[in-house]
Structure formats: structure tokens, C-alpha cells
Symmetry: C2
């Protein structure tokens, strides 16, 4: 660890007192790993993340195994996780079949994933934006009608390419707002606004959030999901916090494939986020030391160092 | 390059229209390189940085060669740079002897470097904070009394460890303000507030800037110098811009030693900064493509990839 007392907590005006981190490392972080990660390692990863104080740990995906072979063990993994008090374990569901599998195993939180651009909708879902929305509509409706452990199932709507698209360039804000509204109208409880290729900058983030405000979308139903491909994720997060956003997606250790790959991943590292939030005096419930240890352990499992700057700085100093 | 039109320029309220980047790659970036970089390569680096649109390119240091062997060629390098129209080429001077050498070569801008903490003053200058200030006072006075090309010499005061110190932990703000005032009182034209170990977060940055305001320090005499050791540099920069700061230090390609070394370097990469500034619609005068090409070229000279996320993303896409 670095010198004691760092980061020094100095609050800034107009920021929320507490942020909920939606941890995506076990799903979004692992899904593009080529070498198969053993199911037991995944389960330990989720358990360690929860033990580090993360209260929302996205666990896996019930996408067809053909598309995401790494997560083909969802049916075996999910029961291994058990019921962790105070911790949500959402899972991705692409369609009716995925929802059935998730609900049958007792999942209480599910997520669907749409695209703000036609190019990515075609590439990722082989559909137009509206065809994808039409596909999700009955899934969301059935999820909302379901009950798990005497609670209504909570549905998150991921929206990719909210700022830039690798084929289309800048994405017009009204186009993003339209799909956000459609996801909320069909019953999603919250949205996750994704900067899938990491090109957004703070003014763009604020402009999209302002446009959603104007359309009456409550800020507490919005999460932000920034990628660090161009190093912008934390600055964008700061802007979102200044707007009042309190849900931020991040991936332990910055897992999420190589940030230099054409697939343009490079998730915001949870540790880098926690460093900033704790420095701002914002509560997260996370124990940064335990989280860093978890990412160092996972990096060993994957056989390469974490791209998180905070993990590298802290783990170097510990060694 | 990525898709055309990215980053999309979306201004945010309350930010300056233009930022002056103080490029430190050729001095701060190279000074800890172990393998000697040929003088001609350094000269080409400075010329390429200027050609990419950077108007302040810190060129070298007139520190005793024993302390910074990499920059022992300052006397040979500086004349090679020539006079580049519209471009300042400041140099570091530690003492009278360094100042003499710099002035003899026609340097018009010089910089001294103080510490906000006793531990680092001892480690870096083998003096107390006040002894170091006493050492710089006559240097600054002589520099200010000097003329070069019919202009008064401009003096920058670097201040290290403004936020955290590896031995002392968090650095009290009044302690930093006191040294800032001393540097200005002795005649420094501008300050560079350094987060030498990269631990600052945005609230801390704003609190220091507010404290300087209270003491009547004009914001236009303040530059910020953030390190990306914990990934915080751009978020801190955004906070500083929101306060009105318009001078930001950065290092092309993120040069500045291994960000994981105990020496805790890891300069903010100029390219990551430019991506954010241009995304915010803030003018820099920099051609990001040319700058990235320069950093890729320099990385080849040094034999390892740039740590800048933007350089990696853009150069991958170009390949």
C-alpha cells in the first residue's frame, strides 16, 4: 500500500454522498477471454468481489454458448454462487430462452442489451435497432411479471454505442435518447449508458444526461458505463457524478480484454474508480485493499497483469 | 485513426475556450531514461513536438550532469533547437551555475523546482524546504533581471508533492500554499502544482486552488502537473479547468518512466489530454495525429510502447 491516509478524502461540492458500483468484471470482463476460466475460479472471483464490499456483482450471461463460449457454464456457475446477503447478482439475458434459464435458477436481476446505432445492432444482434427492441420487449415484460424470492425481478437495460460508433462516428444525442426511452417504456428499471469504444468526453456525457433530463428520465434510473480506451473514463465519470448520477459500472482490475484491440474494450477499472470516489469522500462500501488483492489474484489466474493503474501502483508497493 | 469526427466536440459550461499545454516530455519525460538517448534524437523530438502544434516545449535541464546523466548534453542540445517561431523552449535551472549556462545559450524561459514537503526537499535537494527556497531566491532574482532577445526572462516555479508525499502521506493545504506564495513573492511568473506521486483526486485539487484564490494568487499564474499513477490525472485536470486553470503540463506519449516504479512517475500523456480538450471543444493548437505519430516514433527510439491509452488506441487502428 501507499503512504497511510491516501487518498486523502476531500469532498467537492455538488457530488452525491454515496455511489453504487455495478461490478461487471465477472461477466463483461471475462466474456472475451479466449482461454476458458474454470467455473470454480469464476465463483471464487464473484465471492471475493462481494467480500470486498461490492453490492452488485454481475455474475454471468445466459447468451447462447455459441456466441460467448467463455460464459457457457452459466447454468453451473450460478447455483455455485448461492445467496450472498446484501449482494445483487444480475445476469445477462438476450432472449426468452435465456430468461427462462436464468429464472429457473432463481436469478432476481436480469439485463438486456440494446444498441444506439444501427451498425452495432447489426454487428452484435444481427437486427436493426428497432428489431432488437422488439425482441427485448416481451423478455422485459415477462421478467417484470415474474417473481423471485417474493420480489419482482429487476431489469437493467444496457445501451451500447451511446457516444461514438466505430463505423458511424459520433452518435447523435436524440438517437440515443429515443432508444433510452424505448427501454424504459418497455419496463426496464434502470439503464446503463455505454461508451463502448471509449471515445466520449465530459461535455458529451453532460449533454446526453441533460437531454435525458429534458425527456423526464429520472437520473436515479441511469447508470454510466465508460471505457478507458482513450483514458477518458474517470473524467467522464466525474462529469456524470456532477450531474447527479449515482450508479457507475466498472470492472475489477480493468478486466475486459485488451484495450488496444479493435473490439475496443478496456473497461474502467473498479480500483481506479474507487480511488477517485474515496478521494472525493464518496462512500462505496468497498475495501480497496481487498479489491486490489482480488484483481491481483485474478490477474494471476489469467496469466497477465491488470491494466488498472491503481492495481499496479498498489500491488507494486506491496511487493 | 478512429472513425472520422471523433472525439465529437461538445463544450461544457464554465470551461476555458483555450488551454496552453506545457509539454514536458523532452525533459521530465526523458530524464529518468537509463539508456542514453542521442542528442540528435532529442532535438528531433523537440522539433516534432513543436511541429505538432505544441507552443511550450520544455527542452532540457541544466542540472549538474551527475544528478541527471540523461540530460548531460543540455549544452550541446539547446543550440541545436534553434529559434522556433511561436514556441517557447523553457529549461530547468537548479542554481546559479545552471542559470549561467542557460542564459549563456540564450534561454528565454527557465524553471526552478521546489518541494512542498520536507521529506522530498531532503530527498531531491538535500535541503529543508526553506533552505531550497533560499537557494532559488537569488537564481530567480538574477533570471528576472536578465534579458534575452530584448525580453525579460520568464521564470516558472515547479512545486513537487502538492497533494501527497510517499513518506508523509497527505500534504496539508496551508503548507503548499505557503511555498506557492514564497515562489511567487521571489518573482516566479508562474507555478506548476505537481502531484508527483499521482494520488490527488478532484476535490483535493479544487480545495488547493480555492485556498490559493483566497490568498490572492491569480489563477492565470497557476499550471497543474498531474501524474497518472492511479489513473486520476484527467479527472483532476477536468476539475482544474472547471476552476479556471488554463495551463496544463503533460508529457507526449506519457513519457516519464515506468508508472509502477517506486519513483512514482507516470506523467499525464499529452495525447490523452488533447483527446479530452478537443472533445470539450477547447482549443490547443495541437494536431493529435502528428503528436501521436511523434510519440510512436519516440517509443520506437526507446524500445518500448507508449503508456498513453490514446496513443495505443490510435496507433493500433492505424496499423
Amino acid at each position: 500500500m501507499t503512504a497511510p491516509g491516501l487518498p486523502m478524502a476531500v469532498p467537492a461540492r455538488g457530488l452525491p454522498p454515496r455511489v453504487r458500483i455495478h461490478e461487471v468484471g465477472a461477466r463483461d470482463g471475462l466474456q472475451n477471454e479466449k482461454a476458458t476460466v474454470p467455473t470454480e475460479v469464476k465463483a471464487e472471483f464473484v465471492h471475493r468481489l462481494a467480500a470486498a464490499g461490492l453490492t452488485t456483482v454481475e455474475a454471468t450471461s445466459f447468451v447462447h454458448p455459441k456466441w460467448v463460449p467463455q460464459l457457457a457454464d452459466a447454468e453451473r456457475l450460478f447455483p455455485l454462487l448461492g445467496d450472498i446477503e446484501g449482494v445483487h447478482l444480475p445476469v445477462l439475458v438476450p432472449n426468452d430462452r435465456g430468461l427462462d434459464r436464468a429464472l429457473a435458477l432463481g436469478a432476481r436481476r436480469v439485463a438486456v442489451f440494446a444498441s444506439a446505432t444501427e451498425s452495432f445492432a447489426q454487428a452484435n444482434l444481427n437486427r436493426t435497432v428497432d428489431e432488437a427492441l422488439a425482441m427485448f420487449e416481451p423478455v422485459v415484460a415477462r421478467a417484470k411479471a415474474a417473481e423471485a424470492a417474493h420480489e419482482r425481478v429487476h431489469v437493467r437495460g444496457y445501451l451500447s454505442m451511446c457516444f461514438g460508433d466505430p463505423w458511424e462516428g459520433p452518435v447523435p444525442i436524440p438517437q440515443v435518447v429515443r432508444v433510452c426511452k424505448a427501454l424504459l417504456d418497455m419496463g426496464c428499471d434502470e439503464l446503463s449508458l455505454g461508451d463502448t469504444i471509449g471515445v466520449a468526453t465530459p461535455g458529451h456525457v453532460l449533454a446526453l444526461l441533460a437531454a435525458l433530463d429534458e425527456q423526464g428520465v429520472p437520473t436515479d434510473r441511469i447508470g454510466v458505463h465508460f471505457h478507458d480506451t482513450y483514458g477518458q473514463a474517470l473524467a467522464n465519470t466525474l462529469a456524470a457524478l456532477q450531474h447527479g448520477v449515482t450508479t457507475v459500472d466498472a470492472s475489477a482490475g480493468g478486466l475486459g480484454g485488451c484495450p488496444y484491440a479493435k473490439s475496443a474494450t478496456g473497461n474502467l477499472a473498479t480500483e481506479d474508480l474507487v480511488w477517485m470516489l474515496h478521494g472525493l469522500g464518496i462512500e462505496t462500501g468497498v475495501d480497496l485493499g481487498r479489491l486490489t488483492d482480488t484483481s491481483v489474484w485474478m490477474a494471476t489466474q489469467l496469466g497477465r497483469p491488470s491494466p488498472s493503474r491503481t492495481v499496479r501502483a498498489l500491488s507494486h508497493k506491496e511487493s
